[in-house]
Symmetry: C2
Subunit: 363 residues, 2 copies
Amino acid sequence: MKKLFILMIISLAITIQGQAISPDSLKYINASNFEIINKGFTDTENLYDRLPANLNGKTRPPVWSLSKNCSGLAIRFRTNSSVIAARWEVTGDVTMNHFTPTGIKGLDLYCLKNGKWQFVNSGRPAGKKTTAIIIDHMLGKDSEYMLYLPLYDGLVNLEIGVIPTATIDNPILNSPRKEKPVVFYGTSITQGGCASRAGMSYPNQLSRMLDRQIVNLGFSGNGQLDLEIAEAMAGIDASCFVIDCLPNVSVKQMNEKYADFLKIIRTKRPDVPILLVETILFPHRNFDQSIYALLQEKNSTLIKIFNDQKSTGDRKIFYQKADQLIGTDGEGTVDGVHLTDLGFLRMSEKLYPVISKLIKSNN
Amino acid sequence: MKKLFILMIISLAITIQGQAISPDSLKYINASNFEIINKGFTDTENLYDRLPANLNGKTRPPVWSLSKNCSGLAIRFRTNSSVIAARWEVTGDVTMNHFTPTGIKGLDLYCLKNGKWQFVNSGRPAGKKTTAIIIDHMLGKDSEYMLYLPLYDGLVNLEIGVIPTATIDNPILNSPRKEKPVVFYGTSITQGGCASRAGMSYPNQLSRMLDRQIVNLGFSGNGQLDLEIAEAMAGIDASCFVIDCLPNVSVKQMNEKYADFLKIIRTKRPDVPILLVETILFPHRNFDQSIYALLQEKNSTLIKIFNDQKSTGDRKIFYQKADQLIGTDGEGTVDGVHLTDLGFLRMSEKLYPVISKLIKSNN
């Protein structure tokens, strides 16, 4: 079995690489020296956390634990190195049967080229600790980079490797723009399950499309309208809030907590657009009658909540129907529920014009 | 670490499922009782193999070993069960860091609905042996199904589970049509690396689009123009041959073997269309100068080989340029090389009209 595994690894390696540089010949700089983006809170326990330290013990343990996953966070830097590598250690070495390890706990490098963020390559994880060349044989021109961190694991440590004679420093350009980020609250899907690599989660794709930082508060299985999360969100000077948590809440929870969740945000942010998103229409609903009925019920409950909120005089509350959010061919998921890069691209393309307009209305 | 893993599994499970049936309460029927499709050869060592038994010892060991992976094979059946489950054991329990276990060794169920194959749900693997409910709460209407087998692992055994009172039998409808299949020869990408689930590899997508069986002879890392494979391919009464192996061969190998490979097919199949496919343009070629030069060199070598073949009087040889095969945004791969569901959909949509036309010319 082990032999076959090794054979597969070797045989899957496409035999096209040029002479590769040894990762040991590079110099490594701790990523904490560079700008970290898409982070909603500065007062975190650890650098790569997603919730403020004061929520430890206040929010439910699974939410707290998931806030240690780095989804959405990215390191911004520039370098003239012809090689970029990374050395990183994850906290959990998580594995899941419908998710690539590269998406769960790998890295994903983009470069700003002609004003657009272009995929460079991913850092594929070897286990708890990895050293990997991400890209080699570049021209060595000074360029701006963005390195997305793991979607479903935490980081103990991260270092970026470049050739010893290269310069590496903080970015010059403000892209994705950091002022007034968009804040997403939601589920495993929001957290990025199951993108093949970090850059393909829909919040990360939208961040590039909108040229705007996006704070990812997706908590796998636990986007359950916890009110202390609404309070934390309200503390962010956001351009827009997107609430996309329906797959994780029961209709009972929606009726009990959704209005309060909105009220808490509105206390501090009365005029910031809030977009309520219906649950996506899981493709297997066309076969599973129980799922079909549940999705219908949740989305009609959301319309009611939206209308109630509007009737309080809220003129900055908006509604996103699920229609076609992930396409209509049923092919956008790995398991009926969690989106692949295909589903995430479709969702991003549908949400882009909507959120773009909401941000503008709040500029 | 183990604790966190279990937590992640639990928390990723979306809390929307209705009361699920126990897999133990179902009856299981060995899949060998039903039609197996997309198989190029009947004289195989084991039911789920992709090469004829007489190539054991004749073809290189890695090719032989990879021929035991089930990529492309599917089971066709019909049932009126409201639940469909599966029990299966894989040969290798393969894992790879850029590939979902569901794609590597899971199952993928489609149903023929209004004349089109629709995704039902995937069977997510638990390890070497799995029992899993694939879909529940269906209406229990007699329907035609197709269950795709693992892309990158072999099968020791597979049983399909239905409710004890349900009927399950061979299909009535001939879809995807079995007469004159299309035969694909190629690489890890052809074999389906790295689709999130089996139905999303480009040969499997094309099979649904074309409503035609497709024989998958993709051998990860080993699509190296082995001449005995050309002989085996020539034995198939194909509607079209697609040769998409460039990522696995050096320019030297192309010059030494490509013409002979074509000659062997032409000896037995003088009039069957053969489509030569350029190597896809790996997105990281925009950064890695060495890859860029190599792709250019391989594709210009292929043009020469194509022209040489044409000049022998071959009027059924065709050429597929790589332009836009996987899109132009650089987002179609997990690692610069292997396609995600997004890249595979784009490639299928580009190849569909081309192959469709070639098949018609040979009907």
